[in-house]
């Protein structure tokens, strides 16, 4: 393709900080970022080649070699597995003649596995050239590959569009919202601009008081009090300040931000502007995961509309000096960028490696300036709170978890989808709501792999900050599932997604992954269990960021809560059992020299 990387760099002012945009554009235009282009880019932005290469090689969707005219990124999350991912993957291989992870000989089709793409309610799903294909079956794969051979445009391969805004001209996606339960905050009455008009009539400090009084806590999972965070940032003297919306939901099993971005983007942008008003920031950046690129044009249109309606831009709602605008920054496939400081690093064009804290982003964030980073849902809540009042918000939910929470429920249930619930409902109530029979449920994974695996004996406990905090991911695991395989899948995920900076995370996730495999293969010992628990503890205590600290949770919480899955494959008197297996260890050399292995006297 005739695109010059130099032109792309010039488009972004040869600014090293815009490296993610430069690389995304080159990748999109050329299907890869070859070494020669890395040289060109490095020269244009004034860096060394290794410096640019460290960013290129960090992200899953950047590639130095071509990934095919059609690039299939097939989700390999646990929920995808539950829904028949294996058969779909095989169908892709059979129909295309290629194998994962690689490109067919003719360069037509690339097949790649990828981490959760936020479609757990309609798996198996894949991203093909930035378009999402959901509820895949081997039959559908057959026709998709046939279309590829017929050189059909990807847009024309999408038969039926989904519901709501998914059908709109600017999205045209087959994605379904699956909104199963509407609550009062997110899906309650919302008048675009109402919160901003209220802001315009109040001092920023007064608006902050409203947020603080609402007891709103961050919706990404960690639950930090939003008002406090914004107050820290507001107090900082340095400027300019920035408001970041974290739309990088990558925790396997979560897809609620996808639905907000599709149906409630105005509410989200408005919440960002509210935050900007409070902390004194004029620039907002939505860090949007590359998996949701299909929403790009739609979101840009919403921003344009809001600018036209004076809800963004200068003198918002006629208030002199109330200036705020939003830019969308795309990621390129890295779970760790959902961590706020890694997200900022990425937005600066670097590897998504979490920063050391302190300083916190509120003090030194984007470009070392005071920065607020909040979840998509948090901004929505903030917009509604400013409009409807702190009292109203606090009257919903529970004491420690005011308001409502969007849950993304998937896995073994009749009604996977989005549920807006008041915090404080029990796990059993949630199962009932999602159409899962309690007796058919082995465990519920709350908060995604980094959360907790909850056993049936704890189904009377509450979802919320009181007990099981969650950013929204809930995966229901049926009795017929091999839970050890689920744990292994989660550990593979963490090992793949570790940024690689901290030793306990980089090396620990891999060791844990191997040990779970060993146990799954029937070679585990009680000694292994003790070592696994210790490793999970070391990771919790020593890793820098939330990803690393919680990466041992799939193992630790199943050992604590679901011990029988381990006891079933480990005999209790084995303190030591080797993973070594003579027969498989000699297989390779015997094949090479052409001899039949024999094991006399073994």
């Amino acid at each position: 393709m005739s695109i010059d990387s130099r032109e792309v760099c010039a488009r972004y002012g040869n600014d090293r900080l815009r490296l993610m945009d430069i690389l995304n554009d080159v990748q999109a235009a050329k299907g890869c970022i070859p070494d020669a282009d890395i040289d060109t880019i490095a020269e244009a932005v004034g860096e060394s080649r290794v410096d640019v290469d460290q960013t290129v090689s960090f992200y899953h969707f950047f590639s130095k070699t071509p990934r095919g005219k059609y690039t299939v990124y097939l989700n390999n999350s646990t929920v995808a597995q539950m829904n028949g991912r294996q058969a779909v993957a095989e169908a892709f291989e059979k129909e295309s003649g290629g194998t994962f992870d690689g490109v067919t000989g003719d360069g037509l089709i690339g097949l790649y596995s990828t981490a959760c793409i936020g479609m757990s309610d309609q798996e198996p799903a894949a991203i093909i050239n930035n378009r999402v294909f959901t509820s895949l079956t081997p039959e559908k794969v057959q026709s998709i590959v046939a279309d590829m051979r017929a050189a059909k445009a990807v847009d024309d391969m999408i038969g039926d569009y989904g519901d709501g805004a998914n059908r709109s001209d600017l999205i045209k996606a087959m994605v379904h919202n699956n909104i199963r339960k509407k609550g009062e905050v997110l899906f309650g009455a919302f008048e675009s601009g109402a919160a901003l008009r209220k802001c315009a009539g109040m001092e920023p400090g007064k608006v902050l008081e409203v947020i603080k009084a609402s007891n709103l806590r961050g919706r990404g999972g960690a639950g930090f009090p939003t008002g406090m965070k914004w107050e820290f940032c507001a107090r900082e003297a340095a400027s300019p300040k920035y408001v970041f919306c974290n739309a990088d939901e990558g925790e396997p099993g979560t897809f609620k931000d996808r639905v907000i971005l599709t149906e409630l983007p105005r509410m989200m942008f408005e919440g960002m502007a509210v935050a900007g008003y409070i902390v004194g920031a004029e620039n907002g950046i939505v860090y949007l995961r590359a998996e949701y690129r299909y929403l790009e044009h739609y979101l840009q249109k919403v921003l344009d509309d809001m600018r036209a309606q004076n809800l963004l831009g200068a003198n918002i709602c006629g208030k002199k000096g109330f200036k705020f605008d939003v830019r969308i920054q795309f990621g390129a496939g890295a779970y760790v960028c959902g961590e706020e400081s890694a997200l900022i690093e990425s937005a600066e064009g670097k590897r998504g490696e979490p920063r050391n804290r302190p300083p916190f982003p509120a003090q030194k964030g984007f470009l070392d300036k005071p920065t607020v980073v909040n979840n998509v849902e948090t901004f929505c809540c903030a917009a509604q709170i400013v409009d409807k009042g702190a009292e109203w918000f606090r009257s919903l939910g529970s004491e420690q978890s005011a308001g409502t929470k969007l849950l993304s429920i998937s896995g073994d249930c009749a009604k996977p989808g989005i549920y807006e619930v008041e915090c404080g409902l029990t796990v059993a109530e949630m199962l009932d709501m999602a159409g899962a029979t309690k007796d058919a449920v082995q465990a519920v994974q709350i908060g995604g792999p980094s959360g907790t695996c909850v056993a049936p004996s704890d189904f009377d406990k509450k979802i919320g900050f009181e007990c099981y905090a969650t950013g929204g991911s809930i995966i229901i695991i049926g009795t017929e599932r091999n839970l050890l395989s689920v744990v292994h899948n989660f550990m593979e995920f963490f090992a793949d997604e570790s940024c690689g900076a901290c030793v306990p995370c980089r090396a620990g996730t891999r060791v844990m992954c191997n040990m779970i495999k060993k146990i799954k293969d029937g070679k585990g010992s009680t000694g292994d269990i003790a070592v696994l628990l210790e490793l999970a503890d070391v990771m919790k205590k020593s890793n820098k960021c939330g990803l690393g600290q919680t990466a041992g949770n799939p193992v630790a919480t199943t050992i604590r809560n679901m011990r029988t899955i381990y006891d079933n494959v480990i005999s209790s008197d084995d303190m030591y059992k080797p993973g070594f297996d003579l027969e498989s260890a000699v297989e390779e050399s015997c094949a090479v020299v052409g001899r039949t292995p024999h094991f006399d006297g073994e």
Binding site: G579, L582, V586, S589, V593, P597, H598
Partner: protein
């Protein structure tokens, strides 16, 4: 009271650890007072004649025979000790561990300066009587349970001596900083 019985072997090693054991100099006379040797290259006893108290293993596990011997040692020794870097982590033989075994064999038997023109039929050793090569060299503790580890290449004579005396007399093992080294 009968003397404690010691057995030793060298698997995929260079016998350097055994040499280091002999490096205890005149303490070898004390050692003979303290213990008896069973299966060991030191006395050339080939088969276990009885249950032993202590087994010293030099070298890692690179072929089926190594695995077989190591398992026999585990069976016949109450305490098993990995002696030296090769036993502990594969050592220099394990430098091949991230090269496919087929490439290693080709290099050794087909492409090396001494075999290139001397192996016209391109034969890779495959007689049933020779041990089968493992896909990689395994540390001993990944094959059987190992009770103690004495690092070094070779372990210092003093370390082996201190360890043996401690195991035989039941006294606490002394590990002065200077004697525990990985090289």
């Amino acid at each position: 009271m009968a003397k404690p019985v010691v057995a030793t072997t060298s698997l995929a090693g260079c016998f350097g650890c055994h040499m280091s054991l002999l490096d205890i100099d005149d303490r070898i006379l004390q050692l003979i007072e303290l213990v008896e040797f069973d299966k060991s290259p030191i006395d050339d006893i080939k088969q276990f004649s009885r249950q032993c108290d202590i087994g010293l293993i030099e070298g890692g596990v690179c072929n089926s025979e190594n695995a077989h011997v190591l398992k026999a040692f585990r069976k016949h020794c109450n305490i098993l000790v990995s002696v030296g870097e090769c036993a502990i982590m594969g050592g220099l033989p394990a430098l091949r561990n991230n090269i496919p075994v087929g490439e290693c064999l080709a290099e050794a038997y087909l492409n090396s300066p001494t075999t290139k023109n001397a192996n016209p039929n391109k034969i890779l050793p495959n007689d049933d009587d020779i041990p089968m090569i493992l896909n990689r060299v395994y540390p001993c503790h990944e094959v059987v349970k190992i009770d103690y580890f004495l690092p070094g290449c070779p372990p210092r004579a003093d370390l082996i001596w201190n360890a043996l005396v401690a195991l035989v007399t039941g006294k606490e093992m002394e590990l002065p900083y200077e004697v525990v080294k990985f090289d």
